[in-house]
């Protein structure tokens, strides 16, 4: 009798618990079928180490969210990673009647996922909202040069800028300049429930766990072959790699240097490496008197053996003296080796002559990615030349504030450069307008400022190239910063799939991925 009561209690408890857990059982492996022709109904999963912040291109400003919004929304233009030119995407064509006017013709017959039409009104609505100070959009600066936006007809929009703006197409192809559905934006919170024109439609988001998308069967450029894709949060990269190995996820990116060998030994994946647009550099705090001494900067530059550092990156770094990287608009080969070459003896002589070793250097570093490695190697190299270097390692949030406030002597900074345009690297990072915000090296040089402004206000792209090259040379010759390496974009994908498109900016698209 007593036993029967116990069994009943246990049974009831199990039923209650079962009822409380409302999730449906996941389909067992192998139950999905491939449709053939490269189409696949299996969920294709990408693992990222952190969660998205939000899914509205107007309001979000982080790389993880961007990976998702890039599949849901589209921009007017897109940068062709091979030609490095800007091809129309939602736009059909454009013309410049004068230097400050952009008349953009839009593609016809495209619909947002909610069924509302994509037209000139939607473009005006999106851009007006992005630049409205009340929106407080983090990337409102993209459209800062814009003066007016006028709907000419259903499929034509005219944008007038305050001054001729050279990188305008780069700005319009930026992730944050993607076009949203005005109807949806008025009705719902696009940060949680996004609606665009892209190849994938939003299905669900479990914060901290995953975002699921499904193929947009009515996509204007043909429905994608992968019918379901998921962006799953796997905080530990080594776990993500194990999951890739066992087939629990199909795709990862940003492969860490120390895991390259493990990944290369895995047989079921394809690794892709592509020279990227990001740059990692040693920055001097130019507001400090010692750093304003050109000889001091030269001594530091002579003492740092960048080749030795890059060789530690397992092939995941490109060595170039140029601040504007080889994949960025504005790079000229002449800049590649124009920097101060490693010469520790010359450095020692300068240090000794000027007494640079008397006062210690505070080398600030964020405690993530390759920064610590960089700091340790540079510390050792500078010490060899006679400098005294103290490393201060801070976690990311504190680091950002300390660097912004200029409380350091030297530090390591990086810039991913999503637009792949040199002006978009030099202006935020080194123009004196941005001291106290994104110009963390506090660099201020009227001659350099002038060149950067010219590079932004010139429409002729050949001329821009020359101006950017001049600004680049100025930085390299004066050792304004010391470029340590330029990033390499890395991805690893299950061998059963093909067709991944990877851009030097680190963006990638699953639109044309098919199952073999």
């Amino acid at each position: 009798m007593k036993k029967t009561i116990w069994y009943s209690i246990v049974l009831i408890a199990m039923l209650v618990l079962a009822a409380c857990s409302g999730e449906s059982a996941s389909a067992p492996k192998g139950s999905n079928e491939s449709n053939g022709g490269g189409e696949s109904n299996e969920t294709f999963t990408y693992a990222s180490t952190s969660d998205a912040v939000g899914l509205s291109p107007i309001l979000m400003n982080d790389a993880v969210s961007a990976n998702i919004t890039e599949h849901v929304y589209e921009q007017l233009f897109t940068r062709n990673s091979e030609t490095q030119e800007f091809d129309p995407l939602l736009a059909e064509s454009y013309e410049n009647p004068d230097e400050k006017t952009w008349v953009i013709k839009l593609k016809e017959g495209i619909k947002f996922h909610d069924g509302s039409p994509f037209n000139a009104e939607a473009v005006k609505y999106t851009f007006d909202k992005l630049r409205d100070p009340a929106t407080a959009a983090p990337r409102a600066s993209l459209l800062e040069p814009v003066d007016t936006i006028t709907v000419v007809d259903e499929h034509t929009v005219e944008i007038k800028t305050k001054y001729p703006y050279g990188p305008f197409l780069a700005a319009l192809s930026h992730t944050n300049a993607a076009i949203v559905s005005p109807t949806a934006d008025k009705k719902q919170d696009l940060m949680k429930d996004p609606v665009g024109t892209g190849p994938y439609k939003f299905v669900s988001w479990t914060p901290g766990d995953k975002v699921e998308l499904e193929a947009n069967e009515d996509y204007w450029d043909g429905a994608p072959a992968l019918k379901k894709i998921a962006f799953k949060v796997v905080p530990e990269i080594s776990t993500a790699i194990s999951m890739l190995q066992t087939g629990e996820v199909q795709f990862i990116d940003n492969l860490p240097t120390e895991q390259v060998k493990r990944l290369e030994s895995m047989k079921n994946i394809n690794i892709e490496k592509k020279d990227g647009t990001s740059v990692y550099y040693l920055a001097f705090n130019h507001s400090r008197e010692r750093n304003q001494d050109a000889d001091f900067r030269k001594a530091v530059s002579l003492a740092v053996d960048r080749d030795a550092f890059v060789s530690k990156l397992n092939g995941l770094g490109v060595r170039s003296d140029s601040v504007i990287g080889p994949q960025v608009f504005g790079f000229d080969e002449g800049a590649d080796k124009a920097g101060t070459a490693y010469d520790v003896e010359a450095a020692k002589a300068l240090v000794e002559k000027n007494g640079y070793g008397d006062e210690p250097i505070k080398l600030l570093t964020a405690n993530r990615d390759n920064f610590i490695l960089m700091a340790e190697i540079v510390q050792a190299q500078l010490t060899e030349a006679g400098f005294k270097v103290e490393i201060e390692s801070l976690e990311w949030a504190t680091f950002l504030d300390t660097a912004r406030a200029g409380e350091y002597d030297m530090t390591f900074l990086s810039w991913s450069n999503v637009t792949a345009d040199g002006s978009e690297l030099l202006y935020p990072n080194f123009h004196s307008d941005n001291v106290g915000s994104s110009n963390r090296s506090q660099y201020s040089n009227p001659k350099f400022d002038e060149l950067v402004v010219q590079s932004r206000t010139t429409i002729d792209q050949d001329k821009r190239l020359q101006i950017l090259d001049q600004a680049n040379h100025l930085m390299i010759e004066e050792n304004v910063v010391l470029p340590m390496y330029h990033g390499i974009v890395t991805t690893a994908m299950d061998k059963n799939y093909t067709g991944l498109e990877v851009d030097p900016t680190g963006k990638w698209s699953l639109k044309n991925v098919t199952k073999k």
């Binding site: 983090p138 479990t206 999951m243 504190t398």
Partner: protein
């Protein structure tokens, strides 16, 4: 009993007040501006000022804290600075995962711990005792991230018996149980070792007690001596350890949740600290504190069942 619960309830309110003040002030003092994390690297000082205004971070400390308390008293624990999601909702999504993991690891810990402790005590100084205490020592010493990574490599990657990570399947399905095995072992090992050591020493003490000798002298069967006379009395300190451990596990276990890609409270807390997402940190710490107090209350009540001499009235 009711008096105990009421008394603890009142204590809990004051405790939570104290904790919320501590967390609030430590986040306030901590370096790193939440506005920078929201605004991103390109934000200007004007942008940051607007963000701070918007989040109410420009108000004096006590005004901010008072506002928080007022809303919290109404059940509104605020919204994430980053995602604008409600704190209660964010925790509600993650807590079931932490709970599943905590219960599963506790089962592992209790079963292994008590079994090993008992064997050690009963076969005192035998090879079984030495083996079990060695394993217990190893269990306490092995770091979670190492054990987790090792288990993943062996059982998920090489043998492919179990999945690497996630807790997406319901726990009562085969897939759900499979997903729980590795994280539960990773997390349960440390607790199992602690329980084993405690069970061993406590049982050794009880076995030597006079009433046990008396029972044996009276001719009570050895099985009954162990199960009826010794075990129950030996279990009181063990239950304290179990309760404390369970309280910790409910607070989310950052490393295990990270290694096994489990969307739990511990990960939410650590990610929120890194992003300076104060409302999220505050909400999760208060939840953890409450659970800790409740679990300990339950432990105190359980004592009275095990040892009727214990009374709180």
């Amino acid at each position: 009993m009711i008096a105990l619960i009421v008394r603890r309830g009142i204590q809990l309110v004051f405790l939570l007040l104290g904790i919320s003040f501590l967390v609030f002030s430590s986040m306030y003092i901590a370096p790193g501006d939440p506005a920078t994390m929201v605004g991103g690297p390109t934000a200007t000082e004007t942008d940051l000022e607007a963000i701070r205004d918007n989040l109410g971070l420009n108000d004096p400390f006590l005004v901010q804290y008072g506002r928080y308390l007022k809303h919290a008293a109404q059940g509104d624990f605020g919204y994430s600075y980053q995602t604008k999601q409600s704190v209660s909702e964010a925790i509600a999504i993650r807590f079931p995962n932490t709970l599943k993991l905590a219960i599963a690891s506790m089962i592992v810990a209790v079963v292994i711990g008590i079994f090993a402790g008992l064997i050690s005590a009963l076969k005192h100084n035998s090879w079984l005792d030495v083996t079990s205490t060695t394993f217990a020592l190893a269990g306490i010493s092995i770091p979670n991230f190492w054990l987790g990574a090792l288990l993943i490599l062996v059982f998920a990657v090489n043998l492919q018996w179990l999945p690497v990570g996630g807790l997406s399947a319901p726990f009562y399905t085969v897939d759900g149980i499979k997903q729980l095995v590795l994280p539960a072992i990773t997390l349960g090992t440390g607790s199992a070792a602690m329980i084993a050591r405690m069970a061993r020493s406590s049982m050794l003490e009880v076995i030597k007690a006079d009433y046990v000798r008396t029972a044996r002298a009276k001719g009570v069967k050895e099985r009954n001596v162990i199960w009826i006379h010794t075990l129950k009395n030996g279990m009181i300190p063990v239950i304290t350890v179990i309760g404390l451990n369970f309280g910790f596990l409910l607070g989310g276990t950052i490393i295990t949740e990270k290694v096994f890609a489990i969307n739990g409270v511990g990960r939410l807390m650590i990610d929120s600290i890194a992003m300076r997402d104060f409302p999220m940190v505050q909400g999760s710490v208060l939840l953890v504190a409450t659970l800790f107090v409740v679990v300990n209350l339950i432990v105190d009540i359980v004592y009275t069942f095990i040892d009727p001499r214990i009374s709180y009235d």
